[in-house]
Symmetry: C2
Subunit: 372 residues, 2 copies
């Protein structure tokens, strides 16, 4: 029985294909969805102390009703949990729970829990089955789809990990009602990103319907499904980021540099806000390089402002380091090939492309201007 | 220029295909072989304190002559190095050395260094290029081929890791001249295994030519090449061990149990000796189950005795635990599916097969008889 307001996005990756189910009440229905897809009758559930009080019990009940035994592990919330120390704990928990090939590991949480748990599932017994139950908008439209998993290193974010595709993603849209406005907006930055990459019609639709997306109307499930489909399409064509998949980094090179410059202090800047500023900067920089019109940059900025997202470095509370330090963070980012700078730039609305020979001097002088 | 006494085995894995070069002097020629295959000009070299004094300097010189910068890291020798602690060190070394997508990580050592380094290369930047220079016979014919990497867990050996195929394997047969007799014999157990799995002609050839293999005659390179080809063929058909690849575990279920029972104390038992005893037991157990003749078991035992390998538990120095404890180790092994015992058994010389419904009671009573 599929509810009318439930959508399914299929990620086509040959023998690693899987479904993303999107709709209300999916945590309560998780047991039924999982039991029909899993041979084993045992799961390890990894979550964090913010999510556990709300959703661990309903998930456990739903699984137990279907005869699935659950082994829960609750971790501290926050980006610091994406560490080797917690990777060791989660991997040990999976092995101690005797999760075998037909059983599964479930990530119940946002991007941090999904990335960490996916990595642990990817290395325990050289790969155990993995189910994502993302509880933030960001995780639903981005990190839970596509198989990128990982932890942070002193040398940079997400520098250590594996590609490990989930077997199922359950995006329960009810959980979004408990997110803060700021957290929802941050996830929305990634939604808008899919429009700006290569879906001008979707971006225009968002300009008209974003209020309904934010208020939880029917456009919300629609926007999530289109976003997941957009990511799934890119991942299906380039699972291991050899080319096309880099487009998903629109706004992320500037964004990551700003996250690093604010020491990943979420009171100053969260990932989605960095991406929003990064997308505004990428469009401005494209205009400066005469690739796209200044009008386009202004149109993108207007939409981000409408939904309440930041578009400039000046909006970040506190002092930012000089442009040279931001530049350093950019060249240390992993999208550097043989010393040249790779950026995602645009030629028009929804016409993003991978520019892999951007002169560092232009970027530096742009940053100097923009930092003010 | 390929020396006449050098052989190449191609591992056919689509876009992850690679060559294994086998022959003398390959460490001295490593720079030339690598420079022609690598876009980058930087490598991290991971080795151990036993291997480094002999081969790190010649390798470094060969690489530097071709303009390749090297970042070496020397670890303690021994099985204990396959730990999360050393995985963290190696991964950090790779990232600190700024090894990027076109550069490579080289494992210079035996199975421990290969497994650990391959794992670190597999997770650094979600996969960096990886070159194996195996310095033991065991590593040349087994662990360096096929992409299985990993570390040990308190829950069992090799329970944590990834599949990460190398881009090149350089098996320098000169290094085998410095191995101890015991170490060479232990590697030979895996050579004989390929005959017993599905190459009766190869096993018969080994029965006639093993002295030449041991003394370093032309049969040695031949035996290594046939072994690598045998493993490559299995891996090409079943990269991620969903079926056929399990055959490579012939002798390993009993062998692993004996390694665990001796606390991985190499003064009592090394892996290859465990495999030799395990292969003898697997053939005896196959006879007991009326699958193969007792004559075959005796023939296999005779060859193992000829080359100086052990064939029975009684040959292991010190006390062994009771049969029940060995049985416990077997059921904790990772080749357990849904509680049933999976063994590699045989129907004749070179006619091994995966038996996945072996009654535990039969195995236990067999172990009681054999433990004496």
């Amino acid at each position: 029985m599929t509810a009318e307001n439930q959508k399914t996005v299929h990620v086509d990756l040959g023998d690693r294909s899987y479904d993303i189910l999107i709709g209300p009440g999916l945590i309560a229905k998780a047991g039924r969805e999982i039991v029909s897809r899993l041979k084993g009758r045992k799961v390890a559930v990894i979550t964090d102390e913010h999510v556990a009080p709300h959703y661990l019990q309903p998930l456990a009940q739903s699984l137990e009703e279907q005869g699935i035994a659950i082994h829960p592990l609750t971790l501290p919330a926050g980006e610091k949990t994406k560490s080797f120390g917690h990777l060791i704990s989660v991997t040990d928990h999976i092995l101690a729970s005797k999760i075998e090939r037909n059983d599964a590991v479930i990530a119940l949480g946002g991007g941090v829990i999904g990335d960490l748990t996916g990595f642990a599932a990817g290395i325990a017994r050289r790969g155990t089955r993995f189910i994502q139950i993302p509880t933030s908008l960001l995780a639903q439209v981005d990190s839970s789809v596509g198989g990128k998993t990982g932890i942070n290193s002193p040398h940079g974010k997400n520098l250590i990990g594996v590609f490990h595709q989930p077997d199922l993603v359950l995006a329960d849209t009810d959980v979004l009602n408990t997110l803060s406005e700021r957290e929802f907006r941050a996830g929305y930055a990634e939604v808008a990103k899919y429009g700006l990459i290569d879906k001008p019609d979707f971006f225009e639709w968002l300009e008209r319907n974003w209020r309904d997306v934010f208020s939880g109307g029917p456009s919300r499930i629609e926007a999530i499904a289109i976003s997941c489909q957009a990511k799934a399409d890119v991942v299906a064509k380039d699972e291991r980021e050899n080319g096309l998949r880099a487009l998903l980094n629109l706004g992320h090179t500037f964004g990551h540099a700003l996250e690093a410059a604010t020491q990943y202090d979420s009171s100053r800047l969260v990932h989605g806000e960095g991406v929003a500023i990064g997308m505004a900067l990428a469009h401005q920089f494209s205009a400066r390089m005469n690739l796209a019109s200044p009008d386009l940059a202004r149109r993108v900025e207007k939409h981000l402002i409408d939904v309440g997202l930041p578009i400039s470095m000046g909006q970040i509370p506190g002092e930012l380091p000089p442009a040279e330090v931001l530049m350093e963070a950019i060249t240390q980012d992993k999208k550097v090939k043989g010393g040249k700078l790779t950026f995602i730039l645009t030629r028009g609305l929804g016409q993003s492309f991978v520019a892999d020979d951007v002169p560092a001097s232009e970027v530096l002088s742009f940053l100097r201007d923009k930092r003010g």
